[in-house]
């Protein structure tokens, strides 16, 4: 297990359970770890020595409140969903039968 520590596979369910038990990590840190993003150690050091700065960082606007709708970068989303590959990939999630071409059935709205 120690050997694997360097390149752990991200998103392992068992890891999340373990990380959630570790109450020293904030939820944001838990997620970072779980996603396998590079957790730069120097950032943690920063927080330790510069307590004052850290606090204002925690209170920054995006982090401050609970949201029901996450923030999206709509420009990126537009790009993503104009891409045919992504559209095709998502089509498996939809129950479209043979009626693919039938797009104009709802002109009653305008």
């Amino acid at each position: 297990a120690a050997k694997m520590h360097g390149r752990k596979r991200a998103y392992q369910p068992a890891d999340l359970a373990k990380l959630m038990e570790n109450l020293e990590l904030s939820p944001a840190e838990v997620l970072k770890e779980w996603r396998g993003e590079e957790d730069d150690a120097d950032e943690v050091d920063d927080e330790d020595e510069d307590d004052f700065f850290n606090k204002s960082k925690v209170d920054d606007a995006a982090n401050a409140e609970d949201r029901y709708i996450p923030l999206f970068d709509y420009a990126a989303l537009e790009e993503k969903w104009e891409d045919d590959e992504n559209i095709e990939a998502l089509k498996s999630r939809f129950a479209v039968g043979h009626m693919d071409g039938k797009g104009g059935d709802g002109d009653d709205d305008d």
């Binding site: 606090k55 999206f72 999630r93 709802g106």
Partner: protein, 406 residues
């Protein structure tokens, strides 16, 4: 209630997840102490909308004790019994009218409604609450609250799978959008929740199915209805590639009138509330999994309906592609109801990016603090479904103390 004073206070820190913690405290009957609420902010302590929510909590429960520290950065809450809208306890004619004043207009009405709906099944009597006032916003807000339309079409139907389905209704009496600085909103919504249960059913949702239809509501408040048509057209333009069965309703209403806010020359006159437009989309799968998306025009304006329609459609696609049977907006509702269920293991399948949000992780921790049972995780079946994770939640098995006999 005598033993309640003996119970130690559960300690929490920070202002995040305040409503879920208050909810868990009320549902489990355990007193809590939340400290360090915005200690270093320029406006320390609880915000007006948070104190207003606690007031609402107080009016649907009986015997709750709430103490604030001088600065409002510490809160001690000892929950009472959830009475619902029982006569004589703040309700008039079976209806609690709760005012949301103007200073609370940073959050949408859904911020009050979603937690309130979670308490309702465990109430002693049926719940009937009208939210009104100058801070009551029915549209979605820039602060990340969904519109009341999405609460009605995406959150309340979830209760059905817990065996809670009768006599639940959310009426939008007056629509309102987000007001600009210093203006009033003036919306009005009524939540009727008439199905109280002893215990919610244990939930097993593993199959997300395929999205078969998309419904939506476009609303224009105090502005031209053509905004609706334009939003609908662009949203359909994006979504028609995926689902032909898309139908978006259009609701055009006048700006709400707020009395007593008139000018100096006419003090009894009425002023108009906030205007704007927005769109709420809901996708439903063949196995009744629901995904929702919400956008609304910002108070400062300057966004075309075409942009909003597109954004909403993309948001919906993004939510659907995140996978899982429950999307992030409704995850709190579903997971909390599961935790309050009978002493049995319920399972729900979540997309890994839904599970991997701060809200859900913190909810898991909080649930463990309150009920002592941690969640279990495992990946779903085969390797190709690796981005989906099955969360098993052990119910608490106590349920509704007001209804020992169901």
């Amino acid at each position: 209630m005598a033993d309640e004073t003996v119970q130690p206070l559960l300690q929490f820190e920070g202002h995040r997840h305040l409503t879920t913690r208050l909810l868990l405290s009320t549902l489990t009957g355990r007193p809590i102490r939340i400290s360090k609420i915005r200690p270093s902010s320029t406006r320390p302590g609880l915000t007006p909308y948070e104190t207003n929510f606690i007031r609402l909590l107080d009016s649907v429960t009986n015997g709750a004790q709430i103490q604030f520290s001088m600065t409002g950065t510490t809160l001690v809450y000892r929950p009472g019994l959830i009475t619902g809208s029982a006569e004589g306890l703040g309700a008039m004619g079976g209806v609690i009218r709760h005012e949301i004043p103007r200073e609370c207009s940073r959050r949408g009405a859904s911020w009050w409604l979603i937690p309130l709906a979670l308490l309702a099944p465990f109430a002693k009597d049926k719940l009937n609450v009208v939210l009104h006032g100058e801070g009551c916003i029915t549209s979605s807000t820039p602060a990340g609250d969904i519109s009341v339309d999405s609460v009605r079409t995406a959150i309340l139907p979830l209760y059905k799978s817990f065996g809670i389905e009768r006599n639940i209704e959310l009426r939008v009496l007056k629509r309102s959008c987000v007001p600009a600085q210093g203006k009033s909103a003036g919306g009005e919504v009524q939540l009727v929740f008439g199905h109280q249960v002893r215990l919610p059913k244990t939930l097993h949702v593993m199959n997300k199915g395929r999205v078969k239809k998309i419904r939506g509501v476009a609303y224009a408040v105090g502005v031209s209805g053509s905004n609706n048509a334009r939003m609908i057209e662009t949203a359909r333009g994006v979504l028609n590639k995926f689902v032909p069965d898309t139908y978006i309703f259009s609701d055009v209403s006048k700006a709400p009138l707020i009395s007593g806010m008139g000018s100096k020359s006419d003090p009894n006159g009425k002023t108009k509330g906030a205007v704007g437009f927005g769109l709420s989309l809901v996708a439903e799968s063949s196995t009744d999994c629901i995904y929702s998306a919400d956008v609304a025009s910002p108070p400062q304006g300057g966004v075309t309906p075409e942009d909003l329609g597109k954004q909403c459609a993309y948001q919906l696609l993004e939510k659907i592609s995140a996978g899982g049977c429950v999307e992030v907006t409704s995850a709190t509702t579903v997971l909390l109801l599961m935790a309050m269920g009978s002493e049995d293991v319920g399972r729900v399948c979540l997309g890994r990016d839904v599970l991997g949000t701060e809200e859900v992780v913190q909810l898991g921790r909080d649930v463990k603090v309150f009920t002592g049972a941690a969640w279990g995780f495992r990946s779903k079946g085969t390797a190709d479904a690796e981005d989906e994770i099955v969360v098993s939640v052990v119910g608490r098995g106590v349920g509704n103390v007001g209804r020992k006999v169901a």
